[in-house]
């Protein structure tokens, strides 16, 4: 059945797209609050996934009843500490530099994180299990319960994030810092704490995206390169000034990627998808949901 294949492609697109969206939200959060274009987001997620994998293997070998749960919790704890440390050691001391300078800091971070991952974990590629194994057959469609887990998890995280940003005092602090950190500071917003916390959140979101994509890519030092690039493009496509935009952008890229790959050509898939997205950007230069900045002369 043709529509079943179509549906399966769309469903798979939503699964990967929601991971792009998670990673993109991390990038946007950091950019809004601390003006840093975090090119190292993907590498940090890769490092967290390696740590998660190690915890998983060790706890399974030690006979722990739920090694995956232990690994998942370990991932959250590790990435929180990791995000905190990166912000404290590398980002905060350079927070006075220009936008370009901050970009270079994250480029340096890529080298440091990727180099350490290679030195600590080696350059081999490892198998990581799915959160829920097995698959269900519906007509001609094969659906993995893991996909539901991924999509559900992404939705929960996004809802929590949106609720927090929209309705809690802390969310107000985040939005205030994003809008104008100097004024926010004068109004008594602890901008340093807000920045540290956004780095922690973004790193945790990256780690979850990494853990969820790992069964498809395997765990190795280059595993996040593609996801990371797509999350950036998702963020730009949706608009860096909105928090809904990256989600829509991520889903669009995920679905388009699958459909183009299936119906047109797998070899030219990336070229066609990116080409299409760049054409959209030419017509909507601040992204689909982005605010057009008012310019001062």
């Amino acid at each position: 059945m043709h529509w079943q294949i179509f549906l399966q492609n769309v469903f798979g697109g939503i699964e990967t797209g929601s991971l792009y969206a998670l990673a993109a939200l991390g990038v946007v959060l950091i950019y809004r609050v601390s003006d840093v274009t975090n090119f190292a987001q993907g590498e940090m997620a890769m490092f967290s996934t390696f740590v998660t994998y190690t915890i998983w293997v060790y706890s399974a070998n030690a006979g722990f009843p739920y090694p995956y749960v232990a690994a998942f919790i370990g991932a959250l704890i590790f990435s929180a500490i990791f995000g905190f440390l990166v912000e404290r050691v590398f980002i905060r001391p350079t927070s006075d530099s220009s936008l370009l300078g901050k970009m270079i800091v994250t480029l340096g971070l890529i080298l440091i994180v990727n180099g350490s991952a290679g030195a600590i974990f080696g350059t081999d590629s490892y198998y990581m299990r799915r959160a829920i194994s097995g698959h269900i057959r519906v007509g001609n469609m094969i659906i993995r319960p893991h996909s539901f887990f991924v999509i559900g998890l992404a939705i929960v995280i996004m809802l929590v994030l949106f609720y927090m940003i929209k309705f809690t005092m802390f969310g107000v602090a985040i939005r205030a810092t994003a809008q104008n950190d100097k004024v926010a500071k004068l109004m008594g917003v602890p901008t340093k704490k807000v920045t540290a916390f956004t780095w922690i959140m973004a790193t945790m979101m990256g780690a979850i995206a990494g853990l969820m994509i790992a069964p498809a890519t395997n765990v190795y030092t280059g595993m996040m390169a593609d996801v990371h690039l797509k999350s950036f493009i998702a963020a730009v496509l949706g608009g860096f000034t909105s928090f809904v935009g990256p989600v829509v952008g991520g889903l669009m890229i995920g679905i388009l990627d699958n459909l183009v790959g299936y119906y047109i050509s797998t070899n030219w898939q990336t070229v066609i998808v990116y080409g299409f997205l760049i054409i959209i950007l030419i017509f909507k230069p601040y992204g689909l949901f982005g605010e057009i900045p008012k310019k001062k002369v």
Binding site: T37, V236, W268, L281, K295
Partner: protein
């Protein structure tokens, strides 16, 4: 003192002197074999990446436009060189010029995209375009020979074959010298001033009658030309072009070269290129810690962050302001050391 005066009165003097000293060292090396051939190859890399960095600096430092897709132009230049010299048998000079001019046309197209986008949106969109072109290199086997890579023979000018990489280093250095002179004059011409005006304020530049359309396209075209030319030198130096060289990492390296060396400065571009090519290799040769896996990446990353932390205007510019210019003041009792690059 006399030398100091020469430095100040003749703007080309420091470039001429630098080139001559460097060429003499290479020439002595040619006679007595001072450097290992690995070092010579590294120096060739520094030279062509200097041309890349100067081109990228015209775009970012002088015109204030960003592109994270310029690795694609370098790859395009390299592939064109392989394609032209293999299929049409043109000589070295027409080949490298064509390898600069054809990417220049694509640079103008990228400039048209840049007319609509700005800042981070431009950066990420060009990053996407660069990756797209990298995929085109992989799949367009007729032109690039796909993953097998394109090969080419050694360059030849007027019957003289550059079989020795030291000869090629001399040639590349001379080309870099010409590029530096051209750039020095360009940024002091009407075009260069217009680019800087556009960087500082779009609106003010427009109010003075500077056409943003024209100068944005000029900035993209020029930088694509430089980068394509450097790609051509890459192809001749390595004599092998592989599609996975031209990804986002290379574009980000170009950005790092320019910001670390110093924005809007020729010396800064060369310093930055030297930094990114040499630091990873020098670190590897350090005693004790040099043996740790990946230590070169880790320490290079650390060095990049430290440069931004302590010399936010770039290594070359920092030395210029903190060391060289105060030295001029003291030696010559000048009010203004002059020279604004």
């Amino acid at each position: 003192m006399a030398i100091m005066k020469l430095f100040n009165n003749n703007p080309y003097f420091k470039y001429i002197l630098g080139t001559i000293i460097f060429m003499i060292i290479v020439f002595i090396d040619l006679q007595i074999g001072l450097f290992a051939s690995r070092t010579v190859n590294l120096l060739i890399r520094v030279v062509y990446f200097s041309i890349v960095a100067i081109g990228f600096n015209i775009l970012l430092g002088y015109a204030g436009q960003i592109s994270l897709g310029h690795a694609a132009f370098m790859g395009f230049g390299a592939y064109l060189t392989a394609f032209i010299s293999n299929n049409f048998g043109l000589g070295f000079l027409p080949t490298i010029i064509l390898s600069g001019l054809i990417p220049m046309i694509f640079g103008i197209v990228l400039g048209l995209v840049a007319l609509r986008l700005e800042r981070l949106y431009l950066a990420i969109a060009t990053l996407g375009i660069g990756v797209t072109i990298e995929f085109v290199f992989r799949e367009w086997v007729w032109f690039t020979n796909g993953f097998s890579g394109a090969r080419l023979s050694r360059p030849e000018i007027f019957g003289f074959a550059f079989n020795n990489s030291r000869h090629f280093l001399l040639l590349a250095t001379f080309i870099l010298f010409l590029v530096v002179l051209f750039t020095y004059n360009l940024i002091r011409s009407k075009t260069g001033r217009a680019l800087s005006a556009m960087r500082d304020s779009n609106h003010a530049a427009q109010a003075m009658g500077i056409s943003l359309l024209k100068y944005k396209l000029i900035a993209f075209a020029l930088s694509a030309f430089y980068v394509g030319l450097a790609g051509s030198l890459y192809a001749y130096a390595e004599r092998y072009v592989h599609p996975s060289t031209w990804g986002a990492e290379l574009s980000l390296d170009m950005l790092a070269m320019v910001v670390i060396g110093g924005l809007a400065s020729i010396g800064g571009s060369i310093t930055g290129a030297g930094f990114l090519v040499l630091v990873p290799r020098l670190v590897q040769d350090l005693p004790v810690i040099g043996g740790i896996t990946n230590i070169n990446f880790i320490l290079t990353g650390l060095a990049m962050i430290l440069v931004i932390r302590f010399m936010p205007i770039g290594i070359y510019n920092w030395f210029d302001y903190k060391v060289i210019q105060p030295f001029y003041y003291k030696m010559l009792n000048f009010d203004d050391p002059g020279g604004d690059d």
